[in-house]
């Protein structure tokens, strides 16, 4: 049951999905669960909505994890976020205010097929598991498949490459389903957050070009506040800035698409570490990594309640 669920180990897809049902059943006042669609292999794409039930037009924050299958710390953080939000509601004034005034849409595993494959077959699988009718290689990079400057610099048009952009934009059912949900709710969704690993960075648009976003000063100060809050936990430093200059240029990314579709604050976290363990971050580091990231996400969400 929920009491025994261990948030300091990595969980398989099946364990995460049954945990979601459990959270939905045991916290009806704060949690709602729904599916935004089906994956390529037909698995449901579950999302948890967190927040006090009040007026229907509350502002909202979207958080997705597990876009790239091998980045296991992502789904671990999404579970951690839900646990912390629910357990600290009415005990922590910041979280109480956030859940009273905002809804959080949390998608613990975006790339369900790929994540399951990384547990059963190839630990370092990255992409989705869609089939290509011309090549034996499978999968599309779900962070190169969005309809924004699709398949341009920083993406590959070769199906066997890890950054393959897909046969066409939103070809992946997972991307199409989330894009449809975000489009439908874009008037209420004020922040889009996507959790990746590893590099210890907080990135914001643009990824596909070296240009400055119109609301740069607001986004930049939100990012500055977030990495400062993160640092306050254990002194871990995260770099922050536009993805194109801080990491590298890439096209078809979710943060560029979210931003271009009207979500004013779009961030991608690249969680620990910087390459000692890489994708094999030990379970002993789940707690500190999630604790510090929790502070950063709360800082971003709190910023939405103020005027910039």
């Amino acid at each position: 049951s929920e009491a025994q669920y261990d948030y300091e180990v990595y969980h398989s897809l099946e364990e995460i999905q049954s945990w979601m049902f459990e959270m939905n059943q045991t916290h009806p006042d704060l949690v709602d669960m729904f599916s935004v669609g089906k994956s390529y292999e037909g698995r449901p794409l579950y999302v948890l909505q967190l927040g006090k039930r009040s007026r229907p037009q509350k502002k909202a924050v979207w958080i997705d994890c597990g876009v790239h299958a091998r980045e296991w710390i992502g789904p671990a953080f999404c579970q951690w976020f839900v646990k912390e939000a629910i357990s600290s509601y009415q005990y922590d004034s910041v979280m109480t205010r956030l859940l009273d005034q905002l809804n959080f849409y949390v998608m613990p595993v975006f790339n369900v097929d790929g994540y399951r494959f990384s547990w059963t077959t190839d630990r370092f699988w990255r992409k989705t598991r869609s089939k290509n009718h011309k090549f034996h290689c499978r999968g599309v990079d779900a962070n190169r498949n969005w309809k924004v400057k699709w398949c341009d610099e920083g993406a590959s048009s070769h199906p066997c490459d890890d950054t393959y952009c897909g046969p066409y934009p939103e070809s992946e059912p997972e991307v199409k389903a989330v894009a449809k949900f975000l489009r439908k709710h874009k008037k209420r969704i004020k922040a889009y957050i996507s959790i990746h690993a590893y590099a210890q960075m907080l990135l914001y648009p643009y990824s596909y070009k070296y240009a400055t976003i119109p609301n740069f000063s607001c986004v930049e100060s939100a990012a500055q506040n977030a990495v400062t809050a993160l640092y306050s936990a254990y002194g871990v430093r995260y770099r922050f800035g536009p993805a194109s200059t801080t990491l590298y240029v890439s096209s078809g990314s979710s943060i560029d698409w979210a931003y271009r579709n009207g979500i004013p604050y779009a961030f991608a976290f690249e969680l620990r570490d910087t390459g000692y363990f890489g994708f094999l971050l030990p379970e002993s580091l789940i707690n500190p990594t999630c604790t510090e990231t929790m502070r950063a996400v709360k800082a971003i969400a709190s910023g939405l309640l103020k005027k910039c």
């Binding site: 590298y248 363990f277 890489g278 094999l280 379970e283």
Partner: protein, 99 residues
């Protein structure tokens, strides 16, 4: 063993090309091997003074060691046996399950 022990002996190299010539040589070396790039996500994104983390199959590790030495490209091995790290990451639970 997890994953049928398929990663036994695989290694992860951390390579730092110091200049454009190193970048060209490294892309050429990696272009002739089947490697799993961890950082950056594709060879086209390799640039000077930015670290390259690459997972190399056990059969190719010796070849990569000698090619990098030959080209005098700065590198080190940051995971010397990938299977062991994988077992460490979640291994204790699966052994507990087996028990």
């Amino acid at each position: 063993y997890l994953y049928n022990n398929r990663y036994a002996g695989d290694q992860v190299f951390r390579i730092t090309p110091g200049n454009d010539e190193d970048v060209r040589a490294l892309k050429k070396i990696l272009g002739h091997m089947k490697v799993d790039l961890w950082q950056p996500n594709s060879a086209s994104l390799i640039h000077q003074n930015a670290t390259v983390d690459v997972h190399v199959n056990r059969n190719d590790t010796q070849g990569l060691h000698s090619r990098l030495k030959q080209e005098r490209i700065d590198y080190r091995v940051f995971i010397s046996n990938l299977q062991k790290e994988i077992e460490k990451q979640t291994g204790y639970r699966s052994s507990r399950k087996r028990r």
